[in-house]
Symmetry: C2
Subunit: 358 residues, 2 copies
C-alpha cells in the first residue's frame, strides 16, 4: 500500500461522513464522486460490463462497499424499461394447491433473479380491478394467472397490452399467452383403474363444479377407465361436488343420514372434498378404508397427513414451468404455448390396498 492509498482513504471517509450527514440514500453519483470515475463507469461495474479495467473495477467496488450503496430499483426499471418482476394473481380461497404452485414459481423466479409480486383475487369483482392494476405499465414484466374465473376476452385484452401472460390450469386461447396444465385425464383414469383393479364394484364419483376445466377433464378420465373396464357409469353414484371441503362433508352427511348404503369405493375429484367425506364418516362412526375406500386428487399436503391415496398434481413443477414460460416470454425466448404435465398416483392407506392385498 503506497501513499496514494492513504490519501484516498482520507478523502473517502470525509465523503462518507458527508453522505451520512444529509441522510439521503447513497446513489451512483456518490459512488462516482467517491471513486473518482464517472457514473457511467459505476453503472458498468454494477452491471458487470466487461469493458472496465480491473483497476477501476476494484476502486469502484470498494467505494460501493464503503458507502453501502444499493441500486435503486425504480430508477433502474425506468431506465431499462423492465422491472425484473413477475406478477402472480392468486385465488383467495386455497386448499394448499396454489400455495404449492406459488413456491414452485418462486423457486424458479429467484434462480433467474426475478422477483414476485402477488395479488389475491378474493372475490371476482375485485379480481378484475386487481389484475388491471397489475397491468399498470411497468409494474411487472409478465403475469401468471392461476385458474381465474375471468373471461377469455379479458385475458385477450390484457395480452394486447403487450404484457406476456401465463395461465395455470386453464387452456390457452391466444397467441401471446402461454398455459400450463396438468394431465387430469390420465390422472383420473389411473385412479379409477386402481380402484377397479382392487376389485371394487360400486364406485362413486364425487365430481367437481360444472364448467371448470379440471372437473371436466377428470371426469372424462373416469369415464374412460370405466369404459375400458367394461363398467358403465351409474348416475346414482355421481355426487355433485364443488371442489370445496364442505361439499364432500355435506354430501356424505346427507347420504348417511338418509340411511343409504355406502358404495364400495369413492373417487373424490379433489382432496379437500375427500377430506370432507372422511370427516363426515368419522362423525358417523365410520372409517376409511374399512367402510369405504377413497381416493382424492391433487395430493395436497394434508392428504399425506390423513393417509389419503390420491393423484399427485405436480404443483411445484407447474410453478416452475409457469415461471420459466413467463420469463421466456419476457426475454423473447421461445416457449411452448401449452404444456401439459404428468400426474402420478400416490397410493396410501385410504384406498385399502394393503387391506385387500393381505
Amino acid at each position: 500500500m503506497d501513499v496514494s492509498d492513504y490519501t484516498h482513504n482520507v478523502s473517502d471517509s470525509i465523503l462518507r461522513t458527508v453522505n451520512n450527514d444529509h441522510g439521503r440514500p447513497v446513489t451512483v453519483q456518490d459512488v462516482s464522486r467517491q471513486s473518482g470515475v464517472s457514473t457511467a463507469t459505476v453503472s458498468r461495474v454494477i452491471n458487470q460490463s466487461p469493458k472496465v479495467s480491473p483497476k477501476t473495477r476494484i476502486r469502484v467496488l470498494k467505494a460501493i462497499q464503503d458507502l453501502g450503496y444499493m441500486r435503486n430499483h425504480s430508477a433502474r426499471a425506468l431506465a431499462r424499461q423492465r422491472t425484473d418482476t413477475i406478477g402472480v394473481v392468486f385465488p383467495g380461497i386455497d386448499s394448499g394447491f396454489f400455495s404449492e404452485v406459488l413456491k414452485g414459481i418462486n423457486e424458479h423466479a429467484v434462480s433467474r433473479d426475478y422477483h414476485l409480486m402477488v395479488g389475491f383475487s378474493q372475490d371476482s369483482e375485485d379480481e378484475h380491478d386487481r389484475v388491471t392494476e397489475y397491468l399498470q405499465a411497468g409494474r411487472v414484466d409478465a403475469l401468471i394467472l392461476m385458474n381465474l374465473g375471468m373471461s377469455d376476452q379479458f385475458i385477450r385484452q390484457a395480452a394486447q397490452r403487450e404484457l406476456p401472460i401465463v395461465l395455470i390450469d386453464r387452456p390457452v386461447k391466444n397467441a401471446r399467452v402461454a398455459s400450463v396444465m396438468i394431465d387430469n385425464r390420465s390422472g383420473a383414469d389411473a385412479a379409477m383403474t386402481h380402484l377397479l383393479d382392487l376389485g371394487y364394484e360400486r364406485i362413486a364419483i364425487l365430481a367437481g363444479p360444472d364448467g371448470t376445466i379440471d372437473a371436466e377433464q377428470r371426469f372424462e378420465g373416469c369415464e374412460a377407465a370405466l369404459k375400458r373396464a367394461g363398467h358403465k357409469l351409474d348416475k346414482a353414484l355421481i355426487w355433485p361436488g364443488n371442489f370445496f371441503w364442505e361439499s364432500g362433508y355435506e354430501l356424505m352427511n346427507n347420504w348417511l343420514n338418509a340411511g343409504k348404503p355406502l358404495p364400495d369405493a369413492m373417487f373424490a375429484l379433489n382432496d379437500p372434498m375427500a377430506m370432507g367425506v372422511i370427516e363426515s364418516m368419522h362423525e358417523h362412526g365410520l372409517s376409511v378404508p374399512n367402510d369405504m375406500a377413497l381416493i382424492g386428487f391433487d395430493d395436497v399436503q394434508a392428504a399425506r397427513y390423513v393417509g389419503l391415496t390420491t393423484v399427485r398434481s405436480p404443483m411445484r413443477e407447474m410453478g416452475r414451468v409457469a415461471s420459466e414460460a413467463a420469463i421466456n416470454l419476457v426475454t423473447g425466448g421461445r416457449t411452448l404455448v401449452e404444456q401439459v404435465l404428468p400426474t402420478e398416483l400416490i397410493v396410501r392407506r385410504s384406498c385399502g390396498v394393503e387391506h385387500k392385498g393381505k
Copy 2:
C-alpha cells in the same frame, strides 16, 4: 358542442394513430399533447389534485380514456420516492398459518392501495440474501417479516437502512421496528384448563422446539394452568416436538410401539403436530377422542376438517394489524410498537367434550 370540439376530435384521432403506430406505451406527454395542457396539469388530474378546473379535468380524463393511458409505476416511484409496496418475507415451510396471515395482510394493504411483494425464505442461508435484496433501496416502502430465524442484529441493521419493519410472532427489540404477537400464554392456559375441567388427569404436552417464542410462551401457559389447578408437571409426559407434523407422528409411533399406555389427554402446542398424532393413532387402530383426548393450537384450516379442538390464533387479524403497522410506519403515523392479539379456544370433538358431557 361547437366547431372547436370537432377540430379537436380530428387532431385527437390523428395523434392517437401516431401513438399506436410507434407502439410505445402512452405517457403523460401523449396525454398532455392530446388534451392541450401541460404535463403538470395531467399529473394533477391523475393525482386528484383539487387545483384543476372542472373543464380541464374532463378534457384530460377524456384524453386518458381515449389513449388508454396508465401511469408508469417506476417513474412515479422514482419521482415520489415511494413505491406503495410492502415487502413480505414468508417462510417456505408453512402449515397454513402464514398463508392465512398473508391473506390478512393483503386484505388490509389493498384497502389502503398498497401492493404486496413476497419472497419465500426456504432455507436460512437463502433467507438473508433475499431479505437483503428486498432492502434494496426503493423496491418496497416497508417490510413485514414472518417469524424468521434471523438474528436480532440483522434486523437491527436492516432497520437502520431507514426501512420500517414489522415482525410477526417475534418480540420487538428495536425502536424502528414494530411487532405483532399472539397471546400464546393465555391461549395455552385456556386449553390446558379446559382439559383439566373435563376431568382428565394424565395430560401430556407435545412441546415445540426450544428457543422459539411461541413454544416457550405456550409452555408457560400450560405450567400456569397446571399450577393453578394444583397439578404438577409430569416430566415423563412432556414430549419434545418441533412443530412439524412429522414430530407428532413419530413421537406417537414410538410411544405406541413401545407399548406404553396412552395418557388421558394431550395438548399439542400446534395443529400440525396434533394431526401427526391423530394419524399415528389411526394407523394403530386408535381414535381421538375415544382413546385419548387431544387439543391443538393455531386452528389451521385442516383442524376444522378433522374436528380438532384447538386454540385459534387470529391469523387474518395478525396480518391486518401487521399491514396497518407497516403502513403507519411508512406514512409517519404512530404505531404501537408491540401488539398482542387475543386467542380463542375452539371446542370441537377431539377433546371429547361431548362424550364427557353425556
